[in-house]
Point group: C2
Chain length 483, copies 2
């Protein structure tokens, strides 16, 4: 038995009754926070985050009444002076049905249920969840959750999640996660590593809205340049629609998909986590390939590939050029790129001649271009030369600059301006550029801050750098094929 509305909505969609847009989840003009609480624990942070948002009219609702965070509380949705665009429910699961009924009566059509205690806990919870779905369906309501933390939208800084609003970074990556804990951690990591987000959605038990709906919405979202999905299972019957929506969306922007439950152990784990049926990995894999989405193998790959796809242009024709100050890391990068099926650029004779003039005699001017200790002098002309070589489609720069250069006990140099100028040079080439920083963390941080101005990502993991570059080429092919 399906406890999902999705299929029915899809059917209705087909039959001509338009699906209600998800937009009110991200851009509500008014919100009711039901189960609003000042008590530290579940519900506190969403209450605080929604309440402190200036652009959204917020009503707090709690059966106990009184005041929460200094604001008068309504005892019921019925008492609200207007029909809110969105209700966020955080009451115990046993009270959710009553609240949903009130929302339905009031005319509220978008609801996020953050409360846990539904199908993930067993039969009684599943029964409750079916009841929720029934009411929603009868009233044309759309529901995210239950068992989630809802959404983050950086374009208006609206969020229903347990995240630190003050540190959210705007950008082009949208993440769709299943559980709230993981979605929150993904947002935290993005904030910590300076990955710019557009929107984040945690779907929880997916009683109605699922990743297919969200991708369909994000396809037209101007802020979103890359969609990253973490999926534990696709609801039965949604495969065809998924392929259709992903195909249409992939023609506009890349979709990265990480799916767990690939193995027997993983499959058991997702079953007990969100009740998801991982299904056959081969079937899923074939569907993803057909859909034009890009499957990634790990959460770290999802994260950094999204970062690179969101910030870099697609490569023109040509192979990868490596500029390095470490021959060893250059050789390792060659291995990784070739293993991923990428070609190293064959540099034009004039490029090689130019490099010979720009670098000391002992530098290696083939590809990889290894300028060794002459990196500060030679990197800029090298990037210019590589950038203007038509055989070069993408540039990887590898910096393993000794820590003594920046150490206050030795040379105490600030390399930030060097990296900044190099970033400008690379950016002017119009070719995608990714930097691998290896070694001293202080210098890598200088690279990050120098390259940031031109949105050139600095990664620390060699394999993931290669994989991100490979994804640029792969998406170019997908986009070309979908025209």
């Amino acid at each position: 038995m399906s406890n999902s509305l999705s299929d029915d909505y899809t059917e209705k969609g087909k039959g001509g009754v338009a699906l209600r847009s998800l937009d009110a989840f991200f851009n509500p003009r008014s919100v009711a926070v039901i189960g609003a609480t000042e008590t530290l624990g579940f519900g506190h942070v969403p209450t605080k985050n929604i309440l402190s948002h200036q652009g959204v009219k917020t009503y707090l609702v709690n059966i106990k009444g009184g005041k929460v965070m200094g604001v008068d509380v309504f005892r019921s949705v019925r008492e609200l002076p207007e029909v809110v665009d969105l209700a966020v429910i955080m009451v115990p699961s046993g009270a959710v049905i009553e609240v949903i009924k009130e929302c339905a009566e009031k005319g509220v059509r978008h609801v996020i249920i953050e409360s846990a205690g539904f199908s993930e806990t067993g039969e009684e919870g599943a029964r409750l969840e079916r009841e929720v779905v029934k009411i929603a369906r009868a009233n044309g309501m759309r529901i995210i959750g239950p068992n989630c933390v809802g959404v983050v939208n950086t374009s208006n800084m609206f969020t229903t999640a347990d995240v630190d609003v003050a540190i959210l970074v705007k950008g082009g990556v949208a993440f769709v996660a299943q559980s709230g804990v993981f979605g929150t951690a993904l947002v935290d990591r993005a904030c910590s590593e300076g990955l710019g987000l557009s929107k984040v959605v945690t779907l929880g038990n997916k009683c109605d809205v699922d990743e297919v709906d969200v991708v369909e919405y994000l396809a037209d979202d101007e802020e979103t340049k890359v969609i990253g999905l973490y999926v534990e299972g696709v609801k039965p019957g949604r495969g065809k629609k998924m392929i259709e929506v992903f195909k249409r969306t992939s023609a506009k922007k890349p979709i990265l998909v990480l799916k767990s439950g690939r193995t027997e152990a993983g499959s058991r784990a997702v079953r007990s986590h969100t009740g998801s049926l991982a299904g056959s990995d081969k079937v899923f894999d074939a569907a993803i390939k057909q859909s034009g989405a890009i499957r990634v193998e790990s959460i770290d790959e999802l994260f950094y590939t999204a970062m690179v796809l969101a910030s870099q242009p697609l490569p023109p024709d040509g192979g990868v050029a490596i500029l390095t100050n470490s021959g060893s890391l250059g050789a390792m990068m060659c291995d990784e790129l070739e293993t991923l099926g990428l070609k190293l650029a064959t540099l034009l004779p004039e490029t090689i001649n130019g490099l010979r003039k720009a670098a000391p005699p002992w530098a290696s001017c083939a590809n990889p271009v290894d300028v060794g200790p002459a990196v500060v002098e030679s990197a800029m002309p090298a990037v210019e030369l590589l950038g203007s070589d038509p055989n070069v489609g993408a540039i990887v720069m590898i910096f393993a600059i000794p820590g003594i250069v920046s150490s206050p006990r030795y040379f105490n140099a600030d390399l930030t301006p060097f990296f900044e100028i190099l970033g400008e040079t690379a950016s002017r080439t119009g070719k995608p550029t990714v930097v691998l920083g290896f070694g001293d963390e202080r210098i890598i941080k200088m690279a990050e801050s120098g390259f940031k101005k031109k949105q050139i990502p600095v990664l620390r993991n060699l394999t993931l750098t290669a994989k991100a570059i490979a994804a640029l080429y792969k998406y170019k092919q997908i986009k070309g094929g979908s025209k």
Copy 2:
């Protein structure tokens, strides 16, 4: 034509003439720095580092004489008042032969040639290098280099390399790298990430001392618990000796091997980097398997696997137990572990019952154990229960704790004491434990500092965490097999 002494030395070794130990490279009582210089650039940092070392009698040598860094300079090795244990040569390549001759005459038997401009630059350089080898051979000298930065020894803090001595962290990992730039970057990274080092050697062109010699030496080095090698190619004729030495050494301590030149592009790159012949990867792989060393696939895997092997005990019988506060990350970890051929522990009924008592009703008490938001309350009893379950061989803890917990704008909690107590609990179990931190960097840093006391590593990459755990099981098998 071989420009390597190694084979000859090996032959001599077989014939009964003992090889001169490498010990003087790491523990010299006296050192001559030849080409000592105050000028910023090549040679400055080694001069400064060696000179400022209190336990080593240092003589500066420079044909120009005068004073360097306030110290009187000898014009030649001949003028030195004693036969030094070690000479470090940093003069231009053209002057090296003369210096080597002087060292030979003087009776110096250990020489590090940091100067570049030898076989890596072409035929003329190769000729010079053969000449160096000839003199060394005739005088029973051992040579590291040329084209390297020599050694780091944290037990006496002696180094001939371009590293910041003040931040070196003592520990059980020895790295052997080929080039100086990469070796230095590896040391820098270790310092930045708190990886404790015992010794680091950069071998450069390997005209005499190669990785086989170094592994043989490190096998008996008490400080070294794990040996991590980066190799571009094995010198012709050394394969058999390599297998023999690695086999003997692997019975005592794990050897991790990263080799580049796996692919055609990588193979071309190493040829132009250190003139190494990458050789057939299949042959190398078979040799490594036979030798009991563990081959790793990336520099990041080498780094973190070394970190885990050096700090954790080998697992007793039993599978892997996962404790997590994110079901998603738990499921991903299951996938990774199973893909690597590891088994998840089947928990005893009493463990599961204990977990049910220790965790809230909604927690998942199978393996992975997912305690969700109840992580602070439930993690400690959970670790104790997993630790005492005989079916558990190793524990992976995954923390994806929301950043708001530590954010000054929200709960401002310091979780360091929590992690510290958890580390003590995990350590008492006697089972290897690795932590994966995901999300907010401030909290991951708290985890690092809390777990540090019991040397439990905190990693940030899920795949590499799984691979490091797999290496523990693999080395257990290797060690068991070699008894």
